[in-house]
């Protein structure tokens, strides 16, 4: 039971019961990205100018600020899940893999938080 072939060791142990949640969340956030990124790209393409006043004026409005906040959550979550799959495919040493996944959480959750605070500052008019 302990030795044997890789499939022989896995057979009978059943599913890890975690893959489906990861897979589904990747799809749910993909739909969110689709809607919100199209909103962002179309809005940016249609802006008259790209100076500070135009951009910050646009981003601090209620609807764009809401969309940007949702976009940050959806995109950073999706990116975090996607990069995890890449890491799991190419990093085979368990300890290294665990360390990288911990690092990914810090980077992606931290990045999303920074973006959300930036939008909040714009939307609530606190910019210097």
């Amino acid at each position: 039971m302990v030795d044997g072939t890789p499939i022989g060791r896995a057979r009978g142990l059943g599913s890890a019961h975690e893959g489906v949640h990861h897979w589904l969340t990747q799809r749910f956030t993909a739909v969110g990205n689709l809607v919100l990124m199209l909103f962002l790209t179309i809005s940016l393409a249609l802006l008259p100018e790209y100076d500070y006043a135009t951009l910050s004026g646009w981003a601090s409005q209620l609807l764009p600020a809401t969309a940007l906040a949702l976009l940050l959550v959806s995109v950073f979550w999706h990116a975090r899940l996607g990069v995890q799959v890449v890491v799991e495919d190419y990093v085979h040493e368990a300890g290294t893999k665990f360390g990288i996944l911990v690092l990914l959480n810090l980077v992606f959750i931290g990045g999303a938080a920074f973006g959300l605070i930036s939008i909040a500052r714009l939307a609530f008019g606190g910019a210097a």
């Binding site: 072939t5 790209y50 100076d51 500070y52 996607g82 890449v86 990045g111 920074f114 930036s118 210097a128």
Partner: protein, 147 residues
């Protein structure tokens, strides 16, 4: 009786040498065996574009938002760098990356429901995704530059 229980109670059939030989037997053929096609190119492109957006696109997105939140001075620095020729090239690259990843993702939704696996259909849509990705990128920048 569940299948797992019956197989566990069976006596070990393999000797140690047999187990060793079984463990070293060839597994499924790897990438270099197959002839490259558009579907394989799109598959790795999806991964590369996704990673590029995660590690290049998201930092630029955060710089943009942070600069706007910090004020006009910080935003002007951002606009100067990203509006330079190199900055524009990076942004055009990222927009192509986004549109291609988005279209490839839509193709994945179709594959997820079990459709589009016929060889000719699969090949056609893979090439359509590549073509549409370039077309959307050109349209996006045409709207911006021709305004």
């Amino acid at each position: 009786m569940p299948r797992g229980a019956s197989s566990l109670s069976k006596p070990q059939k393999f000797t140690e040498r047999t187990q060793l030989r079984m463990a070293n037997r060839p597994l499924s053929p790897h990438l270099q065996i197959y002839k490259w096609g558009p579907h394989m190119a799109l598959s790795i492109t999806h991964r590369v574009t996704g990673s590029a957006m995660a590690f290049v696109g998201l930092p630029i997105l955060l710089w943009w938002l942070g600069a706007m939140a910090a004020g006009a001075g910080a935003y002007d620095t951002f606009a100067f760098v990203m509006g330079s020729p190199i900055g524009i090239i990076v942004l055009i690259g990222l927009s192509w990356t986004f549109f291609t990843h988005m279209l490839s993702g839509l193709r994945h939704f179709v594959l997820d429901i079990g459709a589009g696996y016929e060889l000719s259909v699969n090949k056609t849509w893979s090439m359509v995704v590549f073509a549409l990705g370039i077309i959307l990128t050109v349209l996006f920048w045409a709207v911006i530059f021709l305004k």
